[in-house]
């Protein structure tokens, strides 16, 4: 079994393995197998298309956490120029689960803030699996304030299982750190664009997610609790996660339909990790478009619209 492919992608993985094998044979064989390779590649593509045309929410949730999925720093490298990473909350520590700094996109200076997961075991631990502690959120807020002072738009990238549930995090006020960010972002005097690039895990995601535009990559997810967490509470069985994923409406498509996000950014066939460059291109395009759109509004109008958007969240009846 190829670990770089998810369960439901295994038929594609098998075809890919066959193609690789043929290529190896082809190098020293007399016969021309080029035709056969092309035929199989075509088959692999249409198989991928057919699998990806009917993904269920649980499969999308797995894709959003795919081990090869591009993370914030991958997108920063592909999309932005002159990135200067800035560290620390000035009070306690630097949290590697959130990266932040200034950079240029298409010549325009912006402030970037994003969750960062690790690729190999060592980095995963260093990044705490993308689960920030209070100092991470406080670093984010500090740099949002810096951005406000210098009139830089803030671009955030959401990709976290959630805020870290640990002893130290509680001691240092995880709740307060998240709450403070929600409070301050609501009135931040500069445009904010939030994009869910992978996993949008609850309050830990929202703490950098209050924005004038909320976008999601096609195979991102955004929810109040992980499907596993929801299943273990409501179904008393974490294995019911696929049912929970379905019930909670966590995919970009479902959230767009509910009016909770503004824009879905398409991913290349097979997901962002199959063609990182193409995914980054799409993201860059969407970011520039959103920046252009927001640059039109004067600041007080922008803040009024942000407030109205926040007040409109909710589904209830009766007066």
């Amino acid at each position: 079994m190829n670990l770089n492919f998810l369960d439901f992608e295994q038929p594609i993985a098998e075809l890919q393995a066959k193609i690789e094998e043929l290529r190896l044979v082809g190098d020293d064989a007399e016969i021309n197998i080029q035709e056969e390779v092309e035929r199989l590649e075509g088959k692999s593509r249409s198989l991928t298309e057919s699998i990806f045309s009917k993904l269920n929410p649980w499969q999308i949730s797995q894709l959003s956490r795919h081990p090869l999925r591009p993370y914030t720093l991958d997108y920063i490298a592909h999309i932005f120029d002159d990135f200067e990473e800035l560290h620390g909350d000035r009070t306690f520590a630097d949290d590697p689960a959130i990266v932040a700094g200034m950079a240029r996109i298409d010549g325009r200076a912006v402030m970037l803030i994003g969750h960062q997961k690790g690729r190999d075991t060592k980095e995963k631990i260093h990044r705490n699996f993308g689960m920030p502690k209070p100092e991470g959120y406080r670093k984010a807020l500090r740099l949002m304030k810096t951005a406000e002072r210098f009139g830089l738009p803030v671009l955030t990238f959401i990709d976290t299982p959630g805020a870290y549930p640990g002893v130290g995090a509680e001691e240092r006020g995880q709740s307060e750190a998240i709450a403070r960010n929600l409070f301050e972002m609501a009135g931040l005097k500069t445009p904010v664009i939030a994009t869910v690039i992978g996993e949008g895990g609850s309050g830990g995601a929202l703490a950098i997610g209050v924005a004038d535009r909320v976008m999601m990559l096609q195979y991102g997810t955004y929810s109040v609790i992980s499907p596993e967490g929801c299943a273990s509470i409501l179904w008393k069985d974490a294995a019911k996660a696929p049912l929970a994923a379905e019930a909670m409406a966590i995919t970009a498509e479902q959230l767009k339909k509910q009016g909770l996000i503004d824009h879905i950014i398409p991913e290349p066939l097979g997901g962002a990790h199959r063609e990182v460059e193409a995914a980054a291109r799409n993201l860059k395009h969407a970011l520039i478009e959103a920046l252009d759109g927001l640059a039109q509004s004067p600041l007080d109008r922008l803040l009024e619209q942000r407030h109205e958007r926040l007040m409109a969240y909710g589904a209830f009846t009766g007066e």
């Binding site: 549930p165 002893v167 955004y222 929801c230 929970a244």
Partner: protein, 287 residues
């Protein structure tokens, strides 16, 4: 009727169906110290154990009743109900859970908001009903809270909220997550108007409620020994794989770590909050 009862003359026969037993709930056991207490005495003492000062959980209406002046009182946005945007269903339909909770508590949702007075000072007071789906915050809780804040702005008065909640309401998924942003944004407006928000955290105040409106008080107050935190103790234990220290995430732990301003005994809540509010408003201490 058994044979023995039949032998008795009808005059002294008692039908077992209307036999009076000891009335339910006349006595109650303190969850803190285990003392057996007379229920009426507990009630007179605002559900605080007279032996060990354990603060029992109380409902939203009782809370507001204990806190506000007898009149005037006006409930705000009391008719709002969740519209179940996702048609959510786990082992049970969300609609069914809602109507069961409504029947059990007599509330339409987990937050009650009133415009009233505290020692003659006008204010808006909100209280969570923990028995309504664990006091979880969904669209109605968020909207009612915001209506309360808007009323405070309109009437130029302070806002007080008594929290008791397990966090966000899963059955409304991202709608409930967004209530964190919504309530926090409303408090930002209140602060811009220079109006005070006093947050009183009671047992328990966790998750999405703790990580939004509850921690945003100009003054953060807690009742003694309330469980207050972001992640639940069980989740933390599973993550860090160690036993949590005694008193972890309790009010006294929070004050030691600088997260709250003060711990106030329920029986002093009216006096202390009235004093705080009058200090913030630059007024004489109300009697």
């Amino acid at each position: 009727m058994n044979w023995f009862d039949k032998l008795l003359p009808t005059r002294i026969r008692t039908d077992s169906s209307d036999k009076k037993g000891v009335p339910e709930g006349l006595w109650t056991k303190c969850p803190g110290c285990g003392a057996v207490l007379y229920r009426a005495e507990m009630e007179r003492n605002q559900d605080v154990c007279p032996k060990c000062d354990h603060h029992g959980r109380i409902g939203a209406r009782r809370r507001l009743d204990l806190f506000l002046d007898a009149e005037p009182r006006e409930e705000l946005a009391g008719n709002l109900q969740s519209s179940d945007p996702l048609k959510f269903k786990d082992s049970k339909k969300y609609k069914e859970r809602l109507s069961a909770a409504q029947k059990a508590t007599g509330e339409k949702d987990a937050l009650v908001v009133m415009r009233g007075q505290l020692k003659g000072m006008e204010l808006i007071a909100a209280a969570f009903e923990f028995k309504f789906m664990g006091g979880s915050m969904g669209s109605v809780v968020g909207e009612r809270f915001v209506r309360g804040v808007e009323a405070a702005i309109e009437h130029n008065c302070p806002m007080v909220c008594f929290s008791a909640s397990g966090g966000a309401r899963m059955q409304e998924s991202l709608f409930s997550l967004m209530q964190m942003a919504k309530t926090s944004a409303a408090l930002n407006r209140l602060a811009k108007r220079g109006l005070p928000f006093i947050s009183v955290m009671t047992d328990p105040t966790m998750g999405g409620v703790s990580a939004s409106l509850a921690m945003l008080g100009d003054v953060n107050v807690a009742e003694p020994n309330a469980l207050i935190g972001f992640a639940g103790p069980r989740v933390i234990e599973q993550t860090v794989r160690e036993k949590l220290p005694e008193g972890f995430q309790r009010s006294e732990f929070l004050i030691e770590h600088g997260a709250i301003d003060l711990i106030v005994d329920r029986r002093e809540m009216r006096d202390r909050l009235a004093n705080l509010i009058s200090l913030m408003a630059g007024r004489a201490r109300p009697v």
